[in-house]
């Protein structure tokens, strides 16, 4: 294993995986087949662990794969190579956005884009909800797999944060991490 190969493979992954962390999985599988760093079976564990530890899942998976290839230095090289292309691309786009901020066509484009992105977020949220409330069952099995306990906990938490978000309760607003902690504790206790 050379660090140069590691740099090259993860730079490629960062450059060609469009659409977020999950889009890197096909590239990670190719790496598993091409190099002796980790196996496809390892990859499944890596995905599970990356989803269950703090941090964006795409970054976690790259760090994990890099660690398997070359321990700490490997993890560092893989992660930095993964994020380098998007850093450079976004710098260019951010510069362009600053330059074209007052361009009317750019503003028109964003009036169409914003509602569409809310829709994309909504559909991404639905797939997360399916995992949390229906054990990620296929569509025709959703109703048979409903996790009532999860839904009750969800409703309690959502109502709490929704009420506390109202302007008159502003000073009682809780930080998201409180809800995450309560969730973890509830999960162990219930």
């Amino acid at each position: 294993m050379t660090y140069l190969q590691l740099f090259f493979e993860f730079f490629k992954t960062g450059l060609f995986a469009v659409g977020g962390g999950m889009a890197t999985i096909p590239f990670l599988r190719e790496i598993a087949e091409k190099y002796p760093w980790y196996t496809t079976a390892d990859l499944i564990d890596m995905i599970a662990i990356s989803e269950s530890t703090p941090g964006p899942v795409g970054v976690n998976m790259a760090t994990f794969a890099g660690y398997m290839a070359g321990s700490f230095l490997g993890a560092l090289v893989a992660t930095l190579s993964l994020v380098l292309p998007s850093y450079l691309v976004i710098l260019i786009i951010a510069r362009m956005m600053t330059a074209f901020r007052d361009n009317k066509y750019v503003n028109y484009a964003f009036t169409g884009l914003r509602p569409a992105v809310v829709a994309l977020m909504g559909s991404a949220a639905l797939s997360i909800f399916k995992i949390a409330f229906c054990h990620d069952a296929p569509v025709n099995e959703l109703l048979n797999n409903i996790d009532i306990k999860a839904i009750v906990l969800f409703i309690i938490m959502f109502l709490t944060m929704h009420i506390l978000a109202a302007p008159r309760f502003k000073r009682y607003k809780l930080h998201p991490v409180i809800y995450i902690a309560v969730g973890a504790i509830a999960g162990i206790v219930l």
Partner: protein
């Protein structure tokens, strides 16, 4: 100098509090960047997510670079990017080195079940909040509904949705500017 450190620290916090993909980051971004630091607006976060959908790389990193660039150009972007990836490097290294298969542990499984439920509630609240900024008129409602149905029932890819939304937005803007539609 202080702001550069603040940028790193803020994104370190966002990174360590994000469980899952880019979407799960939304509640942390609004709480830390919009409400606490007031570095960006909710509209800008929406724009960054939109661009992140169709540009290479992890959406969390793309968003971080944008916010950093807005405050302190390339150096700011570097600090936020390093901030958001630092927790992963530390935590995953520890997990990979010492803990082995942490996700097989029954207590971890149970805690994760609750964390997922909490994340769902946070995400729904986040979308409702940011949705009010993103959908402002009848045109917005129509675009939202069409895009949502296209993804849900036809499985249209995000990149395609983004490209079509840009074209429709520009076309609508031009038509409206010409006074055809009031």
């Amino acid at each position: 100098m202080k702001e550069l450190i603040d940028l790193y620290v803020s994104f370190f916090k966002v990174g360590i509090l994000t469980f899952g993909g880019g979407m799960a980051m939304l509640p942390m971004l609004t709480s830390e960047l919009v409400e606490k630091r007031k570095w960006v607006t909710e509209e800008e976060i929406l724009d960054y997510f939109a661009i992140g959908q169709c540009t290479p790389g992890i959406i969390a990193v793309n968003t971080a670079t944008f916010v950093g660039y807005k405050r302190r150009k390339a150096l700011g972007g570097l600090m936020t990017t390093l901030g958001v990836i630092s927790p992963s490097i530390i935590i995953i290294t520890i997990v990979a080195a010492f803990l082995g298969n942490i996700s097989d542990n029954p207590y971890v499984q149970k805690a994760l079940w609750g964390i997922r439920v909490a994340a769902c509630a946070l995400i729904l609240e986040g979308i409702l909040k940011i949705g009010r900024k993103g959908i402002k008129d009848a045109f917005g409602v129509i675009i939202f509904l069409l895009a949502f149905l296209a993804v849900l029932f036809l499985g249209v890819k995000s990149v395609i949705i983004v490209i079509i939304a840009i074209i429709v937005g520009i076309a609508y803007g031009i038509i409206r500017a010409k006074g055809v539609v009031k």
